[in-house]
């Protein structure tokens, strides 16, 4: 049943698409940071984010306000990320891609299972930092939460850019990723740089989860479908570019939601295959994405 086109609805779809894009962007940021600092694609990124969001929920259920719990959760996420990198990833760092992929898959399974065991299944409400008010922008209702999700992602990119360019730690991380051997000679503690990358990404994932949960409701499988879209966003933007992750995410969310709405055969069911098709085309034609500098070795 086709519903007539109205500009009001179109802008609502655009708003929904940008907000979905913000969701993908925030997770994509975490994926990109890990890739950039350790050249590993982390299949467990979504589960790490979900787990830390549940930790936040527990803290808030014990009486803490969101803003009181927030720094604690970030600290726990950071520590967790560092621990995972040192204990699980470090031993297989030089191993084949297959081994590393399998390890992150195992981590994803483990975390998903743990989340279920500790907190059980079922949807929960999660009170995020943004009010649930809706603003009227030229006849189009846009919620403060949606704006908040996009704004936070953009702010994070800015902060990360400053961090990587102007702080010693950030420079150290970049050096360690690009050329570990030379960095060591220059006095950079490469091992800790890698661990720090995971810690940072875990924090980003936690932020992502805490922003998304109020909107999509928190449950152990919350991030599972988001993950593929986040991969698509990261590839679209360029796997080593945080700016690309955000731009890619927003573009991807917008495109896929609009396609799903206005191209009837696609509808809701084929959004994921469309994202996959996009990934495939990108990797074949322009693997560096929009902003990345990654080269795929062609044989």
């Amino acid at each position: 049943m086709t519903i007539a086109f109205t500009w009001t609805e179109f802008f609502q779809q655009v708003a929904a698409g940008i907000r979905d894009g913000g969701i993908y962007a925030s997770l994509a940021l975490a994926i990109v940071i890990i890739y950039r600092s350790t050249r590993v694609i982390n299949f467990a990124q979504g589960e790490m984010a979900t787990f830390t969001t549940f930790v936040a929920l527990s803290l808030m259920n014990h009486g803490l306000s969101f803003w009181a719990a927030f720094p604690i959760v970030l600290a726990i996420a950071f520590a967790g990320g560092v621990a995972i990198e040192r204990v699980i990833i470090r031993p297989v760092e030089g191993a084949s891609t297959v081994t590393i992929v399998i390890v992150t898959l195992g981590l994803a399974l483990l975390l998903n299972g743990l989340t279920n065991v500790i907190w059980g299944g079922g949807e929960r409400q999660f009170h995020g930092p943004f009010s649930t008010r809706t603003l009227d922008v030229g006849g189009v209702p846009i919620s403060v939460q949606d704006i908040g999700i996009v704004a936070v992602s953009i702010v994070l990119v800015g902060l990360l850019a400053l961090f990587f360019r102007y702080t010693k730690l950030g420079l150290g991380m970049r050096a360690a990723a690009i050329n570990p051997a030379s960095s060591r000679l220059a006095g950079v503690r490469v091992g800790w740089m890698l661990a720090f990358g995971w810690g940072l990404a875990a924090m980003l994932g936690a932020v992502s989860g805490m922003m998304i949960a109020p909107v999509v409701f928190l449950d152990p499988n919350m991030m599972q479908t988001v993950l593929l879209y986040a991969f698509a966003a990261a590839i679209l933007g360029g796997l080593d570019s945080p700016l690309g992750a955000v731009v890619g995410g927003l573009l991807l969310g917008l495109t896929i939601d609009l396609l799903g709405r206005y191209v009837d055969p696609i509808g809701s069911t084929l959004k994921l295959p469309v994202a996959l098709a996009l990934i495939l085309v990108l990797l074949l034609v322009k693997p560096g994405g929009l902003f990345g500098s990654v080269a795929v070795r062609r044989v």
Partner: protein, 404 residues
């Protein structure tokens, strides 16, 4: 097929004999026990529904502690199928062939029950009180005589909404959000039948896939149809997201939410500006509803849960899924009593198709669970209820949800 069955039976008897056990006249029944089997999602997306099995299990334990059924204790072995029909098949075959259960009870999910129905009927194993609302489980008894449903069908639920809308809404313009599978589509087609000639009052219908991360776009699209009635035929978190979207989009239609997603625990966490005034059907006692706070049936449920459950939280004490399981279990015990001391598989099916149960403490007070060999829909009476002030308020009389 007959011969294969005999081979199976002989093989089982040989193995049983080799293991030193007494060969059982009726599988799953001994002088002091009855073994029931079930397959239910305990993990994965639909795992919240796992509490239906747990509730039933706890009720059986309660019955066992009070003498059992005619001297026999009921044991309910339920396995996880993660909502995957292939696993449901494997679980069922294991329960029937290895564990030698008397019958399958309370298996959840339309696809899962379809997947195991052929095997069970081919092997003359009862498929009792199916926890799924597809009409086929009660309707197609000629082909599948060992199968019987339980809850009101989704199609009937949709039809009831359709009738009610025609009777109560002036100039209805209906928008429907439905999950794109048999569950959502049954509700939709029921609605269309209930509207009859006025089916064109459905101004827009949008299906969504369970792999979506959010349904806000779909709701925005439905709002654009300028509908004044909104049917939420969505499951779990998608229903929650639909209410969220309605609130955020500043839309104020008359909302109808399907029974499965109407649990008080879910309705309480969505924006109340959107939830207030929503209508749903009800046939079980919602333990979170203030209306039943002092009810004997709900008190019984909570005491059973506290005694036999593990790690019971305050959330669990308000979880309607447990109650749904206990309601089915009550009927199961009822049927077992009716089937008598000389318990056979054919006997339990006969008992289950001759029910006339008036006192199920977990269903609404005036509901009669009634079946006949040609009317295999046990629960066919519902009431409408309206959400207001963070609680459900039933109104009106009992409505028949008997498929015609």
């Amino acid at each position: 097929m007959r011969r294969g069955l005999v081979i199976c039976a002989v093989a089982a008897a040989v193995v049983a004999g080799a293991a030193g056990a007494r060969p059982l006249a009726t599988p799953g029944v001994s002088s002091n026990s009855i073994e029931l089997g079930g397959s239910i999602p305990l993990s994965g997306e639909a795992s919240a529904a796992g509490n239906v099995a747990r509730g039933a299990d706890y009720y059986f334990k309660y019955v066992n502690d009070h003498g059992g059924v005619l001297g026999r204790k009921i044991s309910y072995k339920y396995l996880d199928d993660a909502y995957d029909p292939a696993r449901a098949v494997q679980n069922t075959i294991r329960l029937v062939q290895q564990d030698q259960v008397f019958g399958m009870f309370n298996t959840l999910g339309t696809a899962n029950n379809l997947a195991i129905r052929n095997f069970l009927n081919d092997n003359d194993v009862p498929q009792l009180f199916v926890a799924a609302g597809a009409t086929t489980f009660g309707r197609d008894y000629k082909k599948y005589p060992w199968t019987i449903g339980y809850i009101p069908t989704y199609a009937e639920e949709g039809r009831i909404y359709g009738h009610y809308i025609l009777a109560s809404v002036k100039r209805p313009r209906i928008a429907v959000l439905y999950q794109n599978d048999e569950y959502g589509r049954d509700l939709l087609s029921g609605l269309q039948k209930g509207l009859g000639k006025k089916a064109s009052t459905i101004a827009a219908k949008v299906g969504y896939d369970p792999t979506s991360s959010d349904v806000q776009g779909e709701v925005a699209r439905l709002k654009a149809s300028k509908a004044n009635v909104f049917m939420v035929f969505a499951f779990g978190k998608f229903s929650l997201q639909a209410f969220n979207a309605v609130a955020r989009l500043n839309w104020h239609p008359q909302i109808f939410v399907n029974d499965v997603s109407s649990a008080s625990s879910l309705m309480a966490i969505v924006p109340q500006s959107a939830a207030n005034g929503s209508i749903s059907i009800v046939f079980g006692k919602d333990p979170a509803a203030p209306l039943w706070a002092k009810d004997k049936g709900v008190r019984l449920f909570q005491s059973i849960l506290k005694k036999y459950g593990s790690g019971v939280s305050s959330r669990d004490l308000k979880d309607g899924y447990y109650v749904a399981g206990m309601a089915s279990a009550f009927t199961m015990v009822d049927a077992l009593k009716k089937a008598g001391k000389n318990l056979t598989r054919a006997g339990i099916v006969r008992a289950a198709t001759h029910l006339n149960e008036k006192n199920n403490p977990f269903l609404l007070p005036s509901i009669v669970v009634k079946t006949s060999p040609t009317k295999r829909f046990p629960v066919t009476q519902v009431r409408l209820q309206r959400w207001k002030g963070k609680a459900w308020h039933p109104f009106g009389k009992l409505i028949s949800a008997q498929p015609g």
